[in-house]
Symmetry: D2
Amino acid sequence: MYNFKNDYSEGGHPNILNRLIETNLTQQLGYGEDEYSTQAKKLLRENIDNPNADIYFVSGGTQTNLLVISTLLQVHEAVISAKTGHIFAHETGAIEATGHRVITIETNDGKIYPKDIDSTLQEYTLRPHVVKPRMVYISNSTEIGTIYTKSELTDLSTFCKEHNLLLFVDGARLGHALTAQNNDLKLSDISKLTDVFYIGGTKNGALLGEAIVFNNSDIAPDFDYALKQKGALLAKGRVLGIQFLELFRDNLYFDLAAHANKMAMKITNAIRQKGYSFLTDSTTNQIFPILPKEIIKRLEAKYLFYEWAVIDNNSSAVRIITSWATDENVVDEFISDLD
Amino acid sequence: MYNFKNDYSEGGHPNILNRLIETNLTQQLGYGEDEYSTQAKKLLRENIDNPNADIYFVSGGTQTNLLVISTLLQVHEAVISAKTGHIFAHETGAIEATGHRVITIETNDGKIYPKDIDSTLQEYTLRPHVVKPRMVYISNSTEIGTIYTKSELTDLSTFCKEHNLLLFVDGARLGHALTAQNNDLKLSDISKLTDVFYIGGTKNGALLGEAIVFNNSDIAPDFDYALKQKGALLAKGRVLGIQFLELFRDNLYFDLAAHANKMAMKITNAIRQKGYSFLTDSTTNQIFPILPKEIIKRLEAKYLFYEWAVIDNNSSAVRIITSWATDENVVDEFISDLD
Amino acid sequence: MYNFKNDYSEGGHPNILNRLIETNLTQQLGYGEDEYSTQAKKLLRENIDNPNADIYFVSGGTQTNLLVISTLLQVHEAVISAKTGHIFAHETGAIEATGHRVITIETNDGKIYPKDIDSTLQEYTLRPHVVKPRMVYISNSTEIGTIYTKSELTDLSTFCKEHNLLLFVDGARLGHALTAQNNDLKLSDISKLTDVFYIGGTKNGALLGEAIVFNNSDIAPDFDYALKQKGALLAKGRVLGIQFLELFRDNLYFDLAAHANKMAMKITNAIRQKGYSFLTDSTTNQIFPILPKEIIKRLEAKYLFYEWAVIDNNSSAVRIITSWATDENVVDEFISDLD
Amino acid sequence: MYNFKNDYSEGGHPNILNRLIETNLTQQLGYGEDEYSTQAKKLLRENIDNPNADIYFVSGGTQTNLLVISTLLQVHEAVISAKTGHIFAHETGAIEATGHRVITIETNDGKIYPKDIDSTLQEYTLRPHVVKPRMVYISNSTEIGTIYTKSELTDLSTFCKEHNLLLFVDGARLGHALTAQNNDLKLSDISKLTDVFYIGGTKNGALLGEAIVFNNSDIAPDFDYALKQKGALLAKGRVLGIQFLELFRDNLYFDLAAHANKMAMKITNAIRQKGYSFLTDSTTNQIFPILPKEIIKRLEAKYLFYEWAVIDNNSSAVRIITSWATDENVVDEFISDLD
C-alpha cells in the first residue's frame, strides 16, 4: 500500500540525516544556543531579507500555533480563522486551552478576505460582553490546497494594520505555496506583509521542526520564556537547528516543495483529462478530486488516502497528498490505475 | 574547552542515528501510530514487567511534567515537590501555567520523605481556602545526584496510597539512578510502586524523547487528547519511537547510564582522595565537589561547568556532569588537572 | 424614559431588603456557612424535590457558567451550545478562558434538539485531533424567549445519557420559563432530567445571586474549592442566602416571574392585534416584535429598548424585556403609544 | 457566643441598607453603568486625590486579586508576596489557577522590604528557565495586623520602579491600616506610591464590595473585558456602587475602621497590662495575644476566635478580630473575663 494520506509518512531528507551524523559528537550548548541553530537563524534572516526578525525553532505546528497565539494575545482577546483553519479544525482546541476563542469564518476556498473580517468585527462590538478580535490567522497554502496571491495578502495586511489586528501566517506548507505555479509571493513578501509567520519543516523534508519568525523583534521580546514554559524548548536544540540549516542550503526547501507540487499537478492533470472535477482549486500538494465510487474502491486496494466528503450516491471527493519523498513511478502507476 | 555542564552536549547514540537512516524512506502512519513506536512500547512494557502500562513518547522533560500533572489534577489540586525539584526550580512555572500550585518542601538531599508530606498536608487543611494536595512529584536520580532506595520508595508509595496522593517519578535521569552503585531498585519496582513515571531519553543517549508510563491504563485514558492539545504529538512519531527501540535493545540504556556514572565516580574518587568534600552525596552522573577557588579558576580554562554555590571566601561548590558520551581520556586529564 | 432593555434595572424585591435589615446585626459564620444559606438550601431541596442535591449560591450567571463548566470538564473536553447561547454570545469568552471550546449549533428557535447534537458528535470523531464533546448547555427560557417542553427536555436527557454527555441548564430566567403559559415542566422535572442547572435570582427579583444545583452530590464533590479559587465565595454569604430564602418563601419566585410574563404577553397580544409579527415565538418576558421604523422611532422617545435586528428598509425587530418590577401602567401606556 | 473570628460576621452598615431601600425602584443601567457607581467612582477619585485613576467595583478580595494580577502579568511573569500574603495563604491557589507563580518571601512581620525583593530577583535570573518576577503584592494592613509606614512604602515604591516591578497593595483592611495609631500614610499617598491597589469594603462595613484602583488609566485599559470574562461584573452594579457611595460619605469608612482598631487596642492594652505578650506587633483590628491555655479554654466558652499557633505546652497565640460592628460592652466583658 502506498501512502498518499499525508506529507509526513517518511523520515527526513538525507542531507539532514547526514549532517546529524557528521556533527553528532561535537559538543554544543543546549536549549537552542548551539552553533547550528545560530547559523540556521542567520540563514533564514537572509532568506526572508529581514535582519530584524526574531526566529525560534520548535518541533511541531500545533505547538507553534498555541505558542504564538497565547503569547501575543491578552486574556480577553481572540483570533479569527477560517472554519477550515488548522487551529480550529485539527488541533484539539489547543488555542481555547490557552484561554482564547477562535472566531471562525465560513469560506469556500479556505481563504479569508478583508470583507469577512469586517463582518466579524461588526459582530464583536458589544464591549465588554464579547471577546476582542485581535489577530487574524491564515494558512498558506490553506488546508484545502489553495494559496494567497500577493495582492490578496497585501489587502489583508493593509486591512489588519488599519484595524489593529495582528496577522499570523501558518506556513506548515509555506514551501508548497511559494512554489505553486500560480504563486507570485516571495518569502520576503511574507515577512514584510505579516507580523509573524512560520516556515514548516515537518511537512517538507524535516524529521521535525518549524521555524517561527517574528518580523519585528519588538513583537514578542520574552518569547523564550514562553517556549520553555510550554515545554517546547528542546535540550538538544541542535537537532532542530540542523533541519533548517540543511533545508535552506542551496534552495533545498523550495526544490522539495516543488517536487511535491509537481507530483500533485501530474495527478491533477491526469484526472482532469479524464473529465473529473475537483472539490477545491488546489495548485499545491493537497488535491481533492471528485471520483466515482468504483474507482475509489479500486484505488483503495493499492493506495492509502482519505475519503474527504461524500458528494452523491455515486461519487466522493478524496484527498491525495504528495510530498518531497513521493516516488514519481508510483504517481505514474496511480494515474494508470485510474482507468 | 570540554563541556561538563550537562548531559545533552552531544547528539544521540550512533545506533539511533543508524536506525533513523535505515528506516528513513519506509512509509509509516503519523502521530505515533508507526510500527517503531508500537514496537518500542511493547519492548518497554516488557522491560518494566507491566503489560497493563499505557506508554506515550514526547520530546522533552518539561513537556512531560506539564502534561502528566495537568492531566491528572483537577483545577483545585496541587502537586508537592522538593524545592530543588525540576518542576519548581527550572521549568519557568510550567505547572503553575497549567493552573496548579507546586507546594515545595525544603530538603537537604533533594529527596522527599513521608514525614515531609505529612507536615505539608497539615498546612493545607483549611478547606476550601487552600489548594488540595493530590500528587507527590519526586525525581530519581534527584536534581542533586542522590537516589531513592527501594525501602524509601516503598515507604513513599505506601504513604501516598494511604493519603490518596498520586506518586509521579521524574525519570529524566532514571537510567543513572538505576545503575548507581548503591541502587537497589529495578525498573519493574518503579512501575509497581508509582502511579506514573517517565524514562528519560534526552539525557541518556537519545536525540530527544521521554517515555511517559502510566502504570495502569485507567489513570489517564484520554491522555492522547492532551498530548495533541498541548502540542506534544509529533507528526513523525517514528522519530521518537526509534529512540526507545534502540535504547532498550540489548540493555543499551543502562550501559550508557552506567558509563556516565562510572566517569562521575572516577572524578569523585579522585577529588575525595585529594581531601576535598562534596555538597551532596551523589552516586550518579551529577557531582558537586567543593573546591578551592584557585583550582576552579584553573579548571575553567579548559573545562565548562557551573559554579553552583559559594561556600566561603576561598571555596565554592561546582557542578560536574558526565554523560553516555563522556570521553574517559578527558576525565583522566581533568583529574590530573586537579593537582 | 422607562427602561425595557433588561430585567435588572431595579434593585431587589422589598421582602429581601427587609430581611437583610432585620437580620443585619445577627452574627453569622462567613463563606456560606451562615444559617440563612443553610435554610435556603433546605428550602430549595424541598422545592426541587431532591434531597440529594448539592446547592451553592454565587453572585452572577457568567460566574455560574464558568464555574460549573470548568469544574465538570477535563482539559480536552468541550461544551455544546446554541450559537445564541449566553456562554457563546455574551460572556466574553469566559468558557474558553477556562480552556474549553464552546461548540456551537445554529438554531432558529434558540433550542437544541438531539439531532443537532448527533450531527455535532459526527463532526468531532477524529480523535485525538479534535476536542471531545462532553456537555450540552441549554438555557430555559432561551436567550430569545422560547422554552423547552417536558417532552423535549426528556428527549434531550435521554440522548445525553446515551452518549455520555452531561446536561446543564442555564436557568437565568428559569422562573419565566416555568410560569410561561405553554410550559409543562416543573422545577422537580428539571432536577430529574439534568445533571446540573441553576436557578436565576438576579433577573427575577434578587439584588444578586444564582443558585447552582448539582442533582447528585457525586457530580462535583469538591466544588467548594472551585468557588473559592475563582473568587466566587462571598465572605458574607448571608447576603446570597437571604435572597433565596425570601424568593422561595410563599411561591414569591414564581409569582414574580409570572408577573413579568404577564406584562410581556400583554404587550405581545396588543402588538399582534395590530397585525405585526415577531422574530421569535416567545411566551416569556423577552419579546422581539417586528415594527415599522417610524413606530420604533416614536417609542424611543419615551422608552429604552434594543433595536435587535434590521429586517428591511422599513422595519426592525426590537427586544422588549419586562420584569418582576415592571409597572403595568407603563405597559398600558406603551401599548397605547403603539398607535 | 460572641464572634471574634473575623470582621465579616455582621451585615452592612445601616446607611448602606437604607440607601439600597431608598433607591430600590429607581431604574438604572446595568453592569456598573448606573449613576450610583458613577458617583461613587467620582467620590473615590476625590478621596485619593487622583483624577486619572480608573476604578472598578467587584464583590470580593480573592476576585480582586486574581483579576488584577492575571490582567497585568504576561504568561511567564510572576508575583512576589510574603508567605503570609492572602494570595498565597488563603485563596485556594487562585493566582496559580490563572497561570502565574506566587513567589514567596519569609517574613517576621508580614511585610516585604526592598532587600527581600532583591534577594528574590537574584534567585530568578536563569532566563528562560525561571519565571520573570514582575509584580510585588503587599497587604496593608498585613494578614497579621502590622502596617507599612510612609517611609517603608516609599522605599518599596522606589525599588519597584527601579526594577520594573509593578506594586500592588491589597487593601482588604486598608481602612484599618490608615486609621492605626502609628500610621502616617494617607489614601492619596497609596495612590501616588503604587500602580494599583484596592479599597476593601467587605471587611469594613459593606455587605460586599471592593474598589479596585488603577492609579493610571494606561495600566489596564481593557480591564472591563476581564471583569466580565471572569464573572465579576454584576448585572445590578448599583448594589456595589451604593456600598462605596455610603462608605465614603462623611468619612464613614475611616470612622468604622477607627472603631474596629479602638476595640482591638482596648483588648490589647488590657492583655498587655496583665503581662501577656503578643505574636505580632499589631496596631489594627487583628491581634494575636499569647495566652495560657486555661484562659483560652475559659474564653472559648463564651467567644469564638481562632487558636492561631501553639507556643508551648502551656500557652498558645490566638487571633482576635474586631470590626466596625463590634460591641464595646462585649469588649469590656471579654476583658473582665481574662481574669
